[in-house]
């Protein structure tokens, strides 16, 4: 009897604690239910079309799946095929890394450099220049223009001008020549790349505390470069982080420009990227498992680079 009572008292606090934790959670949920209601429409769609697909991709990458038969588990085979026996993927990977290494840093620095120069202008000129630099990235159908500029016949504007000036005698097939195609895609990609982060930088530069600059001048800052390094960059770190994420993601995702200018697939895969490789297997060959392996690899590549760059950016101005 006594022992039983002892047991009861021993059990009770534990049970009470457990119950109260659940009831606290429930109470919190009841109290905050309006927030969940407000969040739910966005989050349901977001999970359905972004979060769950990422997980699906990860799982599918270990299966053979062609949309008709039931998926079959094949372990790491998709990955071993991707890295060991797919020559085209190696070309795609090489091109993607080349694109990312060139367009990523250049577009990021260009975004900041032009935003920084534009910031010195008077408000009206600033608005116009912002428009000039930002317009390409929102003008949607721009590939069309570049197709005429780089057209392979003598009606192409670049060919026409070069022939008129006497640099070349015959038109050059800009878009179907392996030698030029990468360069052209990179130029067009750079032209398009002054987007969201460019705007964020201009806006960020406007918010920098002017008294900070005055104080620094008293403390011995002599020229604009010192001001840039010691004042401007450190005060803009949040915007720099945001811009880096935008630019890195875009530079690994080069595909639309390549498809529209060089065709799909491009001559001898000269402008093939990881994304076009993914499209090839996902939407043409319907090897969904293999395409998912490519997608998972792309996911890891983008996320890894972003995280790495963020840790590097934390050092700016320190």
């Amino acid at each position: 009897m006594q022992t039983e009572a002892k047991l009861q008292t021993n059990l009770n606090p534990l049970q009470a604690k457990k119950e109260s934790r659940w009831s606290v959670a429930l109470k919190e949920f009841k109290r905050d239910k309006h927030y969940y209601v407000l969040l739910s429409p966005f989050m349901i769609i977001f999970f359905l079309f972004t979060v769950i697909p990422v997980v699906c991709s990860l799982v599918l990458s270990f299966f053979y799946f062609n949309m008709l038969e039931a998926p079959r588990f094949i372990g790491w085979q998709n990955y071993s095929r991707l890295f060991l026996s797919d020559d085209v993927f190696m070309i795609a990977l090489k091109n993607t890394l080349l694109f990312a290494l060139i367009t990523g840093p250049i577009s990021y620095i260009a975004c900041f450099l032009f935003a920084w120069i534009i910031n010195e202008l008077s408000p009206k000129v600033r608005a116009i220049m912002t428009l000039v630099f930002y317009a390409p990235s929102i003008s949607g159908n721009v590939y069309f223009v570049w197709l005429i500029l780089f057209s392979g016949d003598s009606y192409g504007y670049l060919n026409g001008i070069l022939m008129k000036l006497g640099f070349i005698l015959e038109p050059i097939q800009w878009l179907t020549n392996e030698k030029y195609i990468m360069t052209i895609v990179i130029i067009v990609q750079l032209w398009l790349s002054l987007g969201t982060s460019f705007l964020a930088f201009i806006a960020g530069l406007q918010t920098i505390d002017k008294t900070l600059v005055e104080a620094a001048t008293v403390d011995g800052i002599r020229n604009r470069w010192q001001e840039l390094w010691f004042i401007t960059l450190p005060s803009m770190r949040p915007q720099l982080m945001f811009g880096a994420v935008m630019q890195i993601t875009a530079s690994f995702a080069v595909a639309e420009v390549s498809i529209n200018l060089a065709g799909f697939p491009s001559v001898n895969y000269a402008a093939h990227t990881v994304v076009t490789h993914l499209m090839d297997y996902g939407t043409i060959r319907f090897e969904m498992g293999y395409a998912s392996a490519i997608a998972t690899f792309l996911f890891v590549l983008m996320l890894g680079t972003n995280k790495l760059t963020q840790s590097m950016l934390r050092k700016v101005g320190e």
Binding site: E120, V125, S137, I161, M163, G204
Partner: protein, 289 residues
Amino acid sequence: MRMLSVIRTPRRLNRSFAVSFLLFVLLGLFGCFMALPLIFTVNNAFKPLDELFIFPPRLFVNNPTMDNFFDLVALMGNSWVPLSRYIANTLLITIVGTAGHILLASAAAYPLAKYRFRGSRSLFAIVVLSLMFSGHVTAIPNYMVMSWIGWINTHASIIVPSLAFPLGLFLMKQFMEQIPDALLEAAKIDGANEYRIYWSIVMPNVKPAWLTLMILQFPMLWGSDGGNFIYSENLKTLHYALGQITAGGIARAGVGAAIALLLMIVPITLFIISQSSVMQTMATSGMKD
């Protein structure tokens, strides 16, 4: 020096004339590079056929004409699906997609920006993480999801995923953090519930952010060609029609130039209208470590 002061904000510390001059020249040069293709698109749309194929090519139009636009209307009037249908499809996708996105993103951003509750931090962390990879990663499962729901070949397949564009939620949340808590407290004391606060206090205060979300979402949907989801000709978009016309090659050069101008002009005009609001929102776009 005097001339420079017209375009430059007067009197700044730590600035030397020579470097300013060089930087402005650099800006001007690249400005030309950026603007040239756009100027070229505008000029091409008004060129008569003989000027489009003149050798050597000219940038500016000599005898501007509206022929290309008339040809466009005539050409599309004869086709199986009239041009107005493509325009209507694009407008439907763009307007519903953009408006819905602003509504859903701001509804979700309000609790995330202003309150802390179970899961709020991790949900936002997932949204930020999703900024770090592009939509291509999810393309394959998305297609399967669409086909399971039965949305293949409907406009919903383009509109619905775009409603939950994570960049919009991120920017909206960052902007909403600026709204003073006292304002919300006062509304609560006056007896407003959360939905009412969201709709009549928060929403009017974040108008600049609406326009920013619009300027990011609109061009994306406006330029959408239906992707892999839309097969029926009568559901396709204006951007798709442009692709078909330009595939006609030399014979369609004029008409192609006209439709390219039409497609380009709308998002750019929207940006001109909303520029100052966009800048206001972007100032809060920073990412904390």
